[in-house]
């Protein structure tokens, strides 16, 4: 690697900009944390130095867990994210596999169609979707979001998995078929196990996307006990002009931790998913 000479140059081109980036990117999370443990008398006092906590308290967390539906929202968020991730992985695999490994009439049309559905933005669909969900009588049910989240996730999963499926040599599959395996068996026993990293990438990515979804959850889930964490926090912890900042921050932090934790275990897979579309390695 081409680098500068001496500590001064390294300071200037690495440590200084790097710390600047880290501070900018992480400050809001620090802010979430310290706001959530500040007592109200520190929170709403404009004269004291706000960057540190003098007398930390867990009161906001206790209030959040006992006085709001936060635990229900967390349960809903996870349930919906897990169901829609699994559905999307299965259907995504079933779309990607033939597109990546088979020759059949109509393949090009399907491939373009899947790419296009990935890029059709949600704001274009949410109004007709709201009407459709109403007509299906699914308003205020978790099924409404379980049904709609995969529309955002399947095209992504399919597209990511196609790259992985293409990378498995055809000879392996042919050998299995000569030994008597059906196409389906060759897929589930030979190709899919070899593509575990791809399935993990797609799964992690889909899961974080599902946790992040806001618009459909906001529209379809108007009752407190079916809400997800982001929608619950935004709609119920902000009551008119009254803000419960301590509780809001506690909710934001607690809602972020599971995603961040899961992501931290699978960073490499996540990054692989993130860059799969744009970087050819």
């Amino acid at each position: 690697m081409v680098g500068g000479r001496g500590l001064g140059a390294r300071m200037l081109r690495l440590y200084l900009p790097l710390s600047l980036f880290l501070i900018l990117m992480l400050f809001p999370f620090y802010w979430m944390l310290i706001t959530s443990i500040k007592p109200n008398r520190e929170l709403y006092n404009a004269r004291i130095m706000p960057l540190v906590v003098y007398q930390p308290t867990l009161k906001h967390y206790i209030d959040l867990l006992t006085q709001t539906n936060f635990l229900t929202w967390t349960y809903n968020t996870f349930l919906v994210a897990i169901v829609s991730t699994v559905v999307s992985l299965v259907l995504g695999t079933m779309i990607a596999y033939p597109l990546a490994r088979m020759n059949f009439p109509g393949a090009a049309v399907v491939a373009i169609g899947v790419a296009a559905t990935y890029l059709v933005p949600q704001p274009l669909l949410f109004i007709p979707m709201a009407d459709i969900i109403n007509k299906l009588d699914l308003g205020n049910t978790l099924q409404a979001v379980m049904l709609t989240y995969p529309t955002l996730l399947i095209p992504f999963c399919a597209w990511l998995l196609m790259g992985y499926f293409k990378s498995v040599p055809r000879e392996l599959e042919e050998a299995a078929r000569i030994d008597g395996a059906s196409r389906f068996k060759a897929m589930t026993r030979i190709v899919l196990p070899l593509c575990t990293p791809g399935l993990l990438s797609a799964g992690i990515f889909a899961f974080t996307l599902a946790q992040n979804e806001f618009l459909y959850a906001l529209i379809f889930l108007a009752k407190s006990d079916v809400r997800t964490v982001p929608v619950g926090a935004i709609t119920e912890l902000i009551r008119g002009d009254v803000f419960y900042w301590g509780q809001l921050m506690a909710a934001a932090l607690l809602g972020s931790i599971p995603v961040a934790l899961i992501y931290s275990f699978f960073v490499e897979y996540y990054v692989a998913g993130l860059t799969a579309g744009s970087v050819k390695s």
């Binding site: 079933m94 033939p98 399947i154 806001f214 935004i234 972020s256 961040a260 960073v267 579309g277 390695s281």
Partner: protein, 310 residues
Amino acid sequence: MAVRPEPLARPAPVFGRPLSLRGVLEREGVFSWLMLAPGVLFLLAFVAYPFFYGIFLSLQDRPVARAGVFVGLANFVTLAHDAVFWQVTRNMFFYASVTTVLKLGGGLAMALVMNQHFRGKNLARASLLLPFIVPTALSTIAWMWILDPTFSVINWLLVHGGVITSGFSWLGNATLAMVSIIIVNTWRGMPFYGITLLAGLQTISPDLYEAAAIDGATTRQRFRYVTLPIIKPVLIIVTMFSVIFTFSDFQLIYALTHGGPANATQVYATYAFDLGMTGGQLGMGAAVALSMLPALALLIVVLTLYLRRE
């Protein structure tokens, strides 16, 4: 990729007669379409159908609880005479272009900084990507408090640093509200550029830089003639993706400003939401949402073709 010779014959059915059920299922076309059918039908029902149904709705006067009346292009004509709609359009293009430039520049800088050897690099990369991972609505809550009119920590720093004498009303002033959503969007999206471009930079062989250095190229020349041409495709794809997703930005703006004050930060998605969901005029809402289609369609077609070519 090596060119693989075509097999001389289709693999013969292993057992049974040629027309057994299994024989049929083993045909490439049959197997493929059986696999595709559930996913494709699902996408047709819940992406393609809503898309066309949206176009149909935009041609109707359709209050939420009643049957629609076909009105042709009347909704679009109303929008064309709606000052708010044009403000929304200006906001959208301003917001999308400024954030794109900031994210691209900042992300490229981030990638170049990260593309050096240092201890704790993986941890740094994981941390830098956090804004992109954490649910946007939740991180926006932190920003709401950072930008609070009375208790803003930015104001506190600026006032105590002697830069200003009294704090800004970040979300209450039209210009500053736009600045605020740009800051938050840039904060959230920059790591996406940074980490993706970093992956692009890592595909560049160090030999190329050595060769350039031997030829006497300066740092700037190495960037201009080695780095840039190689990461250009990545740069283009990442930017187009990001523009498409910025155009469909909803939750950040909804949570931070609700499109206000006085529509100063209203974009297509939030305006469509206000008219269609809050106001209950599904037809008008659908028309607003569709208005973003021409610009987006152009981007989507270009990107789809580009991806297909890859």
